[in-house]
C-alpha cells in the first residue's frame, strides 16, 4: 500500500551541545516513526534509514504532529479523530533503547476524541478527523482542527474528556485543514485556523470568537458583516463558486508578528498582526494546492501538490524553488538549520540550509 507522510516534526531533548535531535513522522498507516537525527545524518542522503521507534498511534492516518518543548509533550492527531499526547522523554528513552518490549510498551499519556454530531433518533455522526493540531502554551490548551469545521480545545493539564474550548464559526461540514497557535509572544492567546470554506480565522481564544476572517486566496479580509455569506468575497457581489480557495496551511512566526496562510490556489498570503491586514501574497503556481507552510524567521517555506519546496523572503521575493522527492508534500518542518520534507511515498527527506539533501528517513 502506498504510504503518505502527513506530518513530521523535529524535537529535541537536552540543551546545548548535549542536545539530541529527533524527528517524528506520522504517516497514512497510522504509525508515528521516530528517528534520531544523528543516525539519519550518518545514513547519508542515498540510504533509507529505518525508524528507531514505531508507534502504532492511530487508526487511519496520522495527520498532525506538534511538539511543545517546555512541557515535554508530543501531540498527534489522526483520521480516527483521536488526539494523543505523548511524553517526549518516554519516546526518546524507547527510541534509544534496543529492547523491543520497551518499544512496544510506549503508551500515550492522554488521549482525546473529537465529539460526534448528534443526529435524529439518537444516532451519532462519524467522528470528525483531526486534521491539524496547535498547542497554546500559555494556557496549556491543545487545539485540534477537526473535520466538522470546529476547532476543539483540549486542556492537556487537566486531561478532561470534554473540550475546554470550541472555536465555532467556520462553515459547518467543511473540514478545517490547518491550525496554528501562538506560544505567548506578541499575539498571545491567538489561534489561526484555515478551512475548506476558503477562509482563515484568527481567534481570540479567551472569548472563543474570531477577530478576523481572512480570504488568503484573494488576499482580502472578510468583514464581520459578510461572514454569514462567506462565499461572497472581493467586491462583495460576484460569487466565487469555482475557486480553489480552501486554506490548506497556516503558520505563525516566532515573534508572532506574521501569519502565513496557504491556499488551494497556490497562493501564500502574509498576514500582519501589527497592521491587522494582509501584507503580501505570493504564488507558487496556480495549479499547486499549498499543503504545508513554515515561517523560519526571515523566510516563508511552503510546499504543496508538486515536488518542490518554495522559499520566499518576507517581502515576497522567491528565494528558491527546490526539487524534492515526494510528488505532493504534506509535511514540512524546519529546525536546527534543517528542513524535513514528507509527503506521498513513505520517505521523509532532510535538507540542509543550503538545500542539499542530507538524509532520507523511511517511515513505517
Amino acid at each position: 500500500e502506498t504510504r503518505t507522510v502527513y506530518a513530521n516534526v523535529f524535537f529535541g531533548v537536552g540543551v546545548g551541545a548535549a542536545a539530541n535531535g529527533y524527528v517524528a513522522c506520522g504517516s497514512s498507516t497510522g504509525a508515528i516513526s521516530v528517528f534520531n537525527v544523528d543516525h539519519l545524518l550518518a545514513g547519508g542522503p542515498e540510504n533509507d534509514v529505518a525508524p528507531a521507534l514505531v508507534l502504532p498511534a492511530h487508526e487511519g492516518a496520522v495527520y498532525s504532529l506538534v511538539v511543545h518543548a517546555e512541557e515535554g509533550i508530543l501531540c498527534s492527531g489522526g483520521d480516527d479523530g483521536r488526539t494523543a499526547v505523548w511524553r517526549v522523554d518516554a519516546l526518546v528513552a524507547a527510541a534509544d533503547d534496543d529492547d523491543e518490549t520497551k518499544k512496544k510498551n510506549v503508551r500515550p499519556a492522554a488521549a482525546f476524541v473529537n465529539p460526534q454530531r448528534g443526529l435524529p433518533r439518537g444516532a451519532l455522526g462519524a467522528i470528525p478527523e483531526t486534521n491539524a493540531l496547535a498547542y497554546d502554551g500559555s494556557r496549556g490548551v491543545l487545539f485540534a482542527a477537526a473535520g466538522d469545521g470546529v476547532c476543539y480545545g483540549w486542556d492537556v493539564r487537566e486531561a478532561r474528556s470534554s473540550p475546554a474550548a470550541c472555536l465555532r464559526g467556520h462553515a459547518t461540514g467543511k473540514p478545517l485543514h490547518c491550525a496554528a497557535a501562538s506560544s505567548g509572544g506578541g499575539a498571545s492567546g491567538t489561534v489561526v485556523t484555515g478551512s475548506e470554506d476558503g477562509t482563515a480565522r484568527i481567534w481570540d481564544v479567551r472569548r472563543e470568537t474570531a477577530t478576523h476572517v481572512v480570504n488568503p486566496y484573494a488576499a482580502t479580509s472578510v468583514s464581520r458583516h459578510s461572514e454569514e455569506a462567506s462565499d461572497v468575497v472581493g467586491d462583495g457581489k460576484k460569487p466565487l463558486a469555482n475557486e480553489r480557495r480552501w486554506v490548506g496551511c497556516v503558520a505563525l512566526d516566532g515573534a508572532e508578528n506574521w501569519c502565513a496562510m496557504g491556499s488551494g490556489g497556490g497562493t501564500v498570503t502574509m498576514w500582519s498582526f501589527a497592521a491587522g491586514a494582509c501584507a503580501s501574497r505570493v504564488t507558487a503556481g496556480r495549479g499547486t494546492a499549498m499543503q504545508a507552510v513554515k515561517l523560519t524567521g526571515e523566510h516563508v517555506v511552503a510546499a504543496g501538490s508538486e515536488p518542490h519546496v518554495f522559499r520566499w523572503n518576507l517581502a515576497g521575493k522567491l528565494i528558491s524553488r527546490q526539487p524534492c522527492g515526494p510528488a505532493s508534500v504534506f509535511a514540512l518542518d524546519a529546525a536546527r538549520a534543517m528542513t524535513a520534507v514528507g509527503g506521498v511515498g513513505a520517505t521523509v527527506e532532510i535538507f540542509s540550509a543550503l538545500g542539499t539533501k542530507v538524509a532520507t528517513a523511511k517511515c513505517a
Binding site: 500500500e1 502506498t2 504510504r3 503518505t4 492516518a61 495527520y63 483520521d79 454530531r117 443526529l119 478527523e129 473535520g147 466538522d148 459547518t172 461540514g173 467543511k174 473540514p175 485543514h177 475548506e196 470554506d197 476558503g198 486566496y217 484573494a218 468575497v233 472581493g234 466565487l240 469555482n242 475557486e243 480553489r244 480557495r245 480552501w246 488551494g264 490556489g265 497556490g266 497562493t267 501584507a279 503580501s280 501574497r281 505570493v282 504564488t283 503556481g285 496556480r286 495549479g287 499547486t288 494546492a289 501538490s305 508538486e306 515536488p307 520566499w312 517581502a315 515576497g316 521575493k317 522567491l318 524553488r321 522527492g325 515526494p326 510528488a327 505532493s328 504534506f330 506521498v344 511515498g345
Partner: protein
C-alpha cells in the same frame, strides 16, 4: 691247515731223507775200501733215492693238492665276492628306493586333497581308529581308506543329483516351451479380440502401447506420466495424458545408453585386468586375439560414442525425444525432459485436434483457444516464474549459467515436483530471497501434487479466459459488455474512450531465439528495461503527468516485493483513456474535456495479483486566473506564469487517491467468487471515481457543497468519499 701240516710233514720227511742220504754218502765216502759196507751203504743209498723219489712225488702231489685247494678256495672266494657285490648293489638300490619313497612329493598335497583331519577321522570312524592302533602309518592308511569310501559315497550322491537336475531341467524346458507357445496364442487371442475391443471401446491395446512408450520415458517424465495417469484413472477427470514424440528415437537413445553403460562396465573390468595380467602374456595367448580385435573395435565405437556425447553436452537444451502431454480443456501442456540440465520443462500450447509436436504452430496459433498464452504458466504457484533453472548444479557446471528465457518451455518448479525432482536450495531456506515461495512449494509438495497442479491449472485457465473476455469487452470500450457491469447494474457517466495494449515488445528476445548463454540474457533484460524507461520518458516529454504516478507505481512495486517478486515475463500493459463526464453547471468554464490516462498492468498471475492502474492526465486543465490583488509582487507573478507549464500538478492528489481506491480498496470490495472479474471491477471503480471527481468543480479539487450535514471531504488530502461499489 691240513695241507700246511702235510707240506710241513713232507718237508720234514724230505729234510729227514736228505739227512739220511747225507749219512749214506758219508758212509759211502767212509766205506771207500770196504765193499760190504759199501754195498750196504750203496743199497741204503739206492733205497734212500727211492725214498727221496717218493718224497718228491709226495711233495709234488702235495703241491698239486694245495694248488687244487687253492684254486677251489679262489673259486669260492670269487663266488663269495660276486655275492657280496650283488648284495651291495641290492642294498644301494633299496636305499635309493627308500630315499625316493621318502622324498616322494604328491602332485596334490594334503591340503588340496582335503583329507579329513585326524580328529575328524577319530570322530567319524572310531572303530577304525582303534583298529589302527598307535602306528601312525596305519592310522594314515585307515584315514585314506576312510576318505576313499567317503568320496565314493559323495560321487554317488553327485550322480544322483545330476540325474535329478536333468529331470528338473527337462520339466522346465517343457514348461517353457508351453509358455512360449502361450505368448503367441495370447497374441493371437488379442488380435482376434481387437475388433471386439474396438466395438466395446475398451482402451486395452492403446493403454498397453502407451505403457510400452512410458517404459522408454526418462525417470522424471515417467514419474510425471504415471502420476497424471493415476490421477486420471483414480478421479476420472476430464483430461488426457499422452506420450508424444518418436518412440524409435527413444529406443535408440536407450540402447545407446545401455551400450554406454556396458562399455563403461567393461572398461572398468579391463582396467582391473590390465593391472593384474601381464601385457605380454595377454598378447601371447593366441586365443585372446579375437577378443582383442573386438575390444579394439568397441573402443573405436566408444570414442565415436563419446564424440556424440560431447556434441550433446555442448547444447544444454537437448531434450529427450519423448514428451508427456497433458490435455486439459483447450490447452495441451507438454512436459519435456532436458537431459543435460536434468530438469523438466513445461510448455503450453493451444490444443489443435491432438496434432502437436509441430514447431510450425509455435508462432501462428490463430486457430487455437485464446485463453492459451505463453505466460499462462508463469507464477502458477507464488514466485515460480520458471525464468531460471531450479537445478543449482547447472550453475555450478557452467559458471553463470542462466536459462534461456526466450524458450517457450520453462523449468517451472511445480513441473520438477511433479516429476519427483527435488533440488536443494542453494542457501538456507530462511535466508533465501524467495523464502515464501520455497515454503509455498514445499507445502504443495507435501500435499497431493497432481491434484493441486491440475486445480491450479484449471483455475488459471478459467481466470485467464475470464480476463480475455473482459479485455475483449474493454477493447470494444463496451463497459456494459463486462459481466461485472451487468451484475452491478451500474452506468458510470464517464466514458472509456479507448483501450489498447502497449506492452513493450521485448526487442529481439523472442525473435532471435536461442542466443544461448548467460551474458546475452542479462543484456536482453537490460534492453527490455531500458525500453520501458524510454517509454516513460517519452510519455513525460509528451506532457503527461507521469511523475507523480511514476513514484506511486515504483513505491507500489516496492511494497509488493515483500509479498512475492513480480515476474517481468508476461506482464501486459494497456493504455486506457477515460473521459470524465462534463459537469452540468460549469460547461462554460471548460471547453476541453478532461481525459484520464490509465496505464494498466495485468500480470500473468491474474487474479492473484490484481491489475495495477497508474493514472495521469491526458492534458492539463488550465488553471483559472487568480483574483486580482494589489498585494502581488511583480516579479513573483512573472515567475509563476513562467513556471505555469512546468508545474506537473494540480490533479496529482486526486489521481493518486483514485489509484489507491482502484488498486487497493477495490480488491477488498470484491464479492466472493468475483475474483476472476477483478479487472472489470477495477475499471468500473475507476469510472466511478472519475465520476466522483468530475463532480468537483475542477480537477485538482475545489470546494464543493456539503450535502446536508454530511462531510464531503476528509483528511489532509481532501479525500472525497466515493459511492459504494456494490
Amino acid at each position: 691247515l691240513a695241507l700246511a701240516e702235510m707240506a710241513s710233514d713232507q718237508l720234514d720227511e724230505l729234510v729227514g731223507v736228505l739227512g739220511r742220504m747225507r749219512d749214506a754218502a758219508d758212509r759211502l765216502a767212509s766205506s771207500s775200501g770196504d765193499d760190504d759196507a759199501f754195498r750196504e751203504a750203496a743199497t741204503d743209498a739206492s733205497l734212500l733215492f727211492l725214498e727221496l723219489k717218493a718224497t718228491n712225488r709226495a711233495a709234488l702231489e702235495g703241491v698239486e693238492a694245495t694248488r687244487a685247494t687253492t684254486a677251489k678256495a679262489k673259486l669260492d672266494l670269487d663266488h663269495k665276492r660276486l655275492e657280496l657285490q650283488n648284495v651291495l648293489y641290492e642294498k644301494g638300490h633299496i636305499q635309493k628306493e627308500i630315499r625316493a619313497c621318502q622324498d616322494f612329493r604328491s602332485a596334490y598335497d594334503d591340503e588340496t586333497i582335503g583329507l579329513c583331519s585326524v580328529a575328524e577321522f577319530k570322530r567319524q570312524a572310531p572303530g577304525e581308529w582303534k583298529e589302527a592302533g598307535d602306528d601312525p602309518h596305519a592310522v594314515m592308511l585307515k584315514r585314506l581308506s576312510h576318505e576313499l569310501a567317503e568320496r565314493k559315497k559323495l560321487c554317488e550322491l553327485e550322480k544322483e543329483l545330476e540325474a535329478r537336475k536333468r529331470t528338473l531341467q527337462d520339466g522346465i524346458k517343457s514348461r517353457r516351451k508351453f509358455l512360449d507357445g502361450l505368448g503367441n496364442q495370447l497374441k493371437g487371442l488379442k488380435r482376434s479380440t481387437a475388433p471386439l475391443q474396438e466395438h466395446l471401446a475398451l482402451p486395452i491395446t492403446v493403454e498397453e502401447k502407451r505403457k510400452g512408450a512410458a517404459r522408454l520415458l526418462p525417470p522424471p517424465l515417467y514419474v510425471t506420466y504415471t502420476q497424471l495417469a493415476a490421477a486420471r484413472e483414480a478421479f476420472d477427470d476430464d483430461f488426457e495424458v499422452h506420450i508424444e514424440g518418436s518412440v524409435a528415437d527413444a529406443e535408440a537413445l536407450q540402447r545407446k545408453a545401455a551400450a554406454a553403460e556396458e562399455e563403461e562396465a567393461r572398461r572398468r573390468e579391463e582396467g582391473a585386468a590390465a593391472e593384474t595380467v601381464a601385457e605380454a602374456e595377454y598378447k601371447a595367448a593366441g586365443t585372446f586375439a579375437g577378443d582383442e580385435e573386438e575390444t579394439r573395435k568397441s573402443k573405436r565405437a566408444r570414442i565415436s560414442d563419446e564424440n556424440e556425447h560431447a556434441v550433446d553436452e555442448s547444447d544444454p537444451y537437448t531434450a529427450h525425444p519423448l514428451r508427456v502431454e497433458l490435455r486439459l480443456g483447450g490447452a495441451s501442456f507438454t512436459f519435456t525432459y532436458l537431459h543435460n540440465l536434468h530438469v523438466v520443462t513445461a510448455n503450453v500450447k493451444p490444443r489443435e485436434g491432438g496434432a502437436s509436436a509441430n514447431k510450425g504452430n509455435r508462432r501462428g496459433k490463430g486457430g487455437g483457444d485464446e485463453t492459451v498464452d505463453d505466460d499462462l504458466l508463469v507464477n502458477l504457484f507464488p514466485g515460480d516464474t520458471g525464468a531460471d533453472t531450479p537445478n543449482i548444479a547447472n550453475k555450478l557446471r557452467v559458471a553463470g549459467f542462466e536459462y534461456d528465457r526466450s524458450r517457450r518451455d520453462r523449468p517451472y518448479r511445480w513441473a520438477q515436483h511433479l516429476a519427483g525432482l527435488d533440488f536443494l536450495a542453494p542457501v538456507p531456506v530462511g535466508r533465501a530471497p524467495g523464502a515464501d515461495a520455497e515454503t509455498g512449494v514445499a507445502k504443495h509438495q507435501q500435499q497431493a501434487r497432481v491434484r493441486n497442479v491440475l486445480a491450479a491449472l484449471r483455475a488459471r485457465m478459467a481466470s485467464r479466459s475470464a480476463l480475455k473476455s473482459q479485455l475483449r469487452a474493454l477493447a470494444r470500450c463496451d463497459i456494459d459488455g463486462l459481466a461485472v457491469a451487468k451484475r452491478l447494474e451500474m452506468h458510470p457517466k464517464s466514458q472509456l474512450r479507448s483501450w489498447r495494449e502497449i506492452t513493450p515488445q521485448a526487442g529481439g528476445t523472442v525473435a532471435t531465439g536461442d542466443d544461448g548463454p548467460a551474458g546475452d540474457d542479462a543484456g536482453e533484460n537490460d534492453r527490455y528495461r531500458e525500453e520501458t524507461d524510454a517509454g516513460t520518458v517519452a510519455d513525460r516529454l509528451a506532457g503527461h503527468d507521469v511523475q507523480a504516478t511514476n513514484t506511486v507505481a515504483s513505491d507500489w512495486r516496492h511494497s509488493e516485493k515483500n509479498f512475492w517478486p513480480p515476474s517481468d515475463h508476461g506482464v501486459r500493459t494497456y493504455r486506457a483513456l477515460v473521459r470524465a463526464a462534463r459537469q452540468s453547471g460549469s460547461a462554460k468554464h471548460r471547453t476541453v474535456p478532461v481525459d484520464v490516462v490509465a496505464e494498466v498492468s495485468v500480470s500473468p498471475e491474474y487474479p492473484q495479483r490484481p491489475p495495477t492502474f497508474a493514472l495521469s492526465l491526458e492534458r492539463r486543465v488550465p488553471p483559472k486566473p487568480l483574483p486580482a490583488s494589489d498585494l502581488d509582487s511583480k516579479d513573483d507573478s512573472v515567475a509563476a506564469s513562467k513556471d505555469e507549464d512546468a508545474t506537473p500538478g494540480d490533479a496529482s492528489n486526486d489521481l493518486r487517491l483514485i489509484e489507491e481506491e482502484v488498486n487497493v480498496r477495490t480488491t477488498a470490495l470484491l464479492p466472493t467468487g468475483g475474483e476472476d472479474d477483478i479487472l472489470g471491477y477495477c475499471v468500473v471503480r475507476l469510472l466511478q471515481a472519475v465520476d466522483a471527481c468530475a463532480e468537483c468543480e475542477r480537477w485538482g479539487g475545489a470546494s464543493d457543497e456539503a450535502v446536508g450535514v454530511r462531510q464531503m471531504r476528509r483528511g489532509r488530502e481532501r479525500r472525497k468519499e466515493l459511492p459504494p461499489l456494490l
